[in-house]
């Protein structure tokens, strides 16, 4: 193997692809979009906290007629609620839009937990009204006095900080979960964008008929490795830019997803297991997918055909995402383990499993070994298909012919 030629190809592939619009968008545009999304989430969070302090139904009162006796008789209700003594009259007044709505608390409320709301039109913030009504009813049972706004803030949905502990360590569960999940997305996307470029590069050379000129200067292995290395550089650059963006954002932003508080900065402090997994999975995953895609890509007569050949490989890779729930709830189940031990699903599956908590090192070792084996098999298949495929023209080989190529390449 002439490594000088390999690096010339790698350099050319990197230089020509790094300036592509699609790549620039994926590398720099996606973090920018991420910034916008995070800022929106941040704004929503801030707003929702602020809202608790200031929430008031902005216009009009809501009449409350209590048949259950749950509300203290004669005590004034906090805005926007107004206790009414005559249900029928209140209903008429609601129909005349004197009240925004009328709430009937029926006799059996404590058993059925149902109220009826009468209104002339839909209420835009009905959720908010119902939530406040709920507090009203709850606090009415707890205290002779309605709770002040400070107490209401305390009773807002709780945001948790989960800490995963072992005998020796203590890691932020939310951070780890987030890191694992985000890293699986980052690596998956980077691997597939690079592998996609590899496929496109092979297909373009074949379609443009440049391949024979190239093969008159270097052999197919040198060409393939040049492409693999050059386009790996693209993937690496992408990962660095994305993680740097996350780190930068993390310094300023902490976002909440469901009930967890997740400082983005925690992504930049993953534990040792996540770091080692990233270092192993990124190159092995790229080789596994990249070489297979390049090999199958070489069989097509043009880019579209090449994509069809490679669709099977790509589909297998995304399957673990479809079983998200299992990874978080049953990270040690046999299904999850199977995904982690199968080379084509392992790159995504291992990260998803790590999201749920520490994985025994021996278990992780099996995944690494399986992926290494997968990379070796992909190398064997990819190189053989590439060597023969790039010279096939005007004819799409059948699966039988593909098998023949694998058994007996040119």
């Amino acid at each position: 193997m002439n490594w000088q030629k390999v690096f010339r190809v790698a350099s050319y592939e990197f230089r020509t692809n790094v300036v592509r619009g699609g790549y620039l968008f994926a590398t720099f545009g996606i973090p920018l979009l991420g910034l916008v999304v995070v800022m929106i989430l941040h704004a929503i969070n801030t707003h929702s906290i602020a809202k608790v302090e200031t929430t008031k139904v902005s216009t009009g009162h809501i009449a409350v007629y209590d048949r259950s006796g749950i509300l203290p008789r004669g005590a004034p209700l906090p805005r926007p609620f107004v206790a009414v003594p005559d249900f029928e009259k209140a209903k008429e007044e609601t129909a005349e839009n004197k009240f925004r709505a009328l709430v009937l608390i029926p006799t059996g409320y404590t058993k059925q937990h149902k109220v009826t709301v009468y209104a002339t039109k839909g209420i835009a913030d009905l959720d908010n009204v119902v939530r406040q009504l709920g507090y009203l009813l709850l606090y009415a049972r707890l205290s002779p006095h309605y709770l002040p706004a400070e107490a209401q803030r305390v009773l807002q949905p709780i945001r948790m900080n989960l800490v995963l502990i072992t005998k020796k360590s203590e890691v932020s569960g939310a951070g780890r979960m987030f890191a694992g999940y985000v890293l699986s997305m980052v690596f998956f996307t980077a691997i597939f964008i690079s592998a996609g470029y590899l496929l496109q590069s092979v297909a373009t050379e074949k379609e443009s008929h440049l391949i024979e000129i190239l093969l008159s200067s270097l052999n197919s292995m040198e060409l393939l490795w040049g492409k693999v290395i050059g386009l790996a550089g693209l993937g690496l650059l992408q990962v660095v830019v994305w993680l740097a963006s996350v780190w930068y954002l993390g310094k300023y932003v902490s976002i909440g997803i469901q009930d967890f508080e997740m400082p983005l900065e925690q992504l930049m402090h993953p534990d040792l297991q996540v770091i080692i997994t990233a270092l192993v999975i990124m190159p092995l995953g790229y080789i596994t997918y990249g070489l297979l895609l390049a090999g199958f890509g070489a069989l097509g007569d043009n880019f579209r055909e090449s994509q069809q050949f490679s669709a099977v490989v790509s589909f297998l890779a995304v399957i673990p995402f479809m079983f998200n729930y299992l990874f978080f709830v049953h990270p040690n189940s046999w299904v999850v383990r199977a995904f982690c031990y199968f080379p084509l699903t392992a790159p995504v599956a291992v990260f998803l499993r790590l999201s749920a908590g520490p994985v025994p090192w021996w278990d992780l070792g099996i995944s690494f070994a399986a992926l290494a084996l997968g990379a070796a098999v992909s190398l064997w298949i990819g190189v053989r298909l590439f060597r023969v495929g790039v010279l096939l023209a005007g004819k799409r080989p059948s699966f039988k012919e593909v098998w023949k190529i694998l058994k007996n390449p040119a």
Partner: protein, 304 residues
């Protein structure tokens, strides 16, 4: 004379199909050697083996006394199926392809520019390939084959898709290469051009060489003894000549002698009959006729 290409009993198979079937030939230094044959005859497979792109199933191929992949830098190659990255700019692409042939980047760039200038493409150096016309792209590909000043050129269908002006450019390049002591191996369907350029020829059909030699040798071998004859005052042909067929070509006659009858014998009989012969010429077959006859004979002998 130094042998540059030596092919011995080459066999190349694709599954059960034998594309090249025990062919042997050699090409000497400074020679223009033509590989001719109908579509699917095995020319491109042979050339791909010569370039080290395909591996032979049997036999041996040597270029400059070495394995083909060891001397790639000595060969300039213009493949039959050719093209360039359509989205790439011309000069950087040519420079890159030059570096793959072993040229340092600066030298590759200078050489690419020199060839673009020679082909009148210097103004297009910074343009994208897709902006070039078909003919311009063909010339750019030719520049790729030539820019590292190879000792040997392998041109697979070099005239394909070219207009007469560009055909002449290719012919001039081949002639120049021969004059400067380079070896040229070319394959083409356009036999008229090959006839004017080739020193020696190998005709391939169904993977086998059916004719091999200098043009002169092939003409003699495939000659049927045809005669072109002009008689004074448009006199009629004498009766009783041992010919199979005779037809008029303008003011002359074209005679096809019976098998075993030489042109000399026909001339003797004409003189004896007192025919007023104004012009008498033995007509040798053109390369196209040789090609057709060789392919026909080969098909017949193989029962096709």
């Amino acid at each position: 004379m130094e042998t540059i290409v030596k092919v011995s009993n080459l066999v190349k198979r694709y599954g059960s199909f034998t594309a090249v079937d025990h062919i042997s030939f050699s090409v000497s230094k400074g020679e223009v050697f033509a590989l001719l044959g109908p579509n699917g005859a095995g020319k491109t497979s042979t050339i791909r083996v010569l370039m080290g792109i395909l591996h032979p199933d049997e036999g041996k191929v040597q270029l400059f006394g070495k394995e083909p992949h060891e001397v790639r830098h000595l060969v300039g190659y213009l493949p039959e199926a050719r093209g360039l990255y359509r989205g790439a700019r011309l000069l950087p692409l040519l420079t890159y392809l030059g570096t793959l042939k072993g040229l340092p980047e600066a030298k590759a760039r200078a050489s690419a520019l020199a060839w673009l200038k020679r082909f009148g493409l210097e103004k297009w150096a910074k343009r994208k390939v897709r902006e070039l016309s078909h003919g311009m792209q063909q010339k750019a590909q030719l520049a790729v084959a030539l820019m590292h000043d190879p000792a040997m050129l392998i041109l697979d269908e070099p005239f394909q898709g070219l207009d007469p002006v560009n055909v002449q450019i290719v012919k001039d390049l081949v002639s120049e290469a021969r004059e400067s002591g380079k070896t040229v191996l070319l394959s083409s369907h356009q036999l008229v051009h090959v006839e004017a350029l080739a020193d020696r020829i190998a005709l391939i059909n169904n993977g086998k060489i059916v004719a091999y030699g200098t043009l002169e040798e092939l003409k003699r071998r495939y000659s049927r003894g045809d005669v072109a004859l002009k008689l004074e005052n448009d006199a009629p042909l004498p009766d009783g000549l041992p010919i199979t067929k005779a037809w008029r070509e303008g003011e002359s006659w074209h005679l096809l002698p019976q098998s075993g009858t030489s042109p000399k014998e026909i001339l003797r009989l004409l003189v004896e009959a007192g025919a007023p012969v104004e012009r008498y010429e033995v007509v040798y077959p053109s390369l196209e006729e040789i090609f057709l006859r060789a392919v026909e004979e080969s098909d017949e002998s193989q029962g096709r």
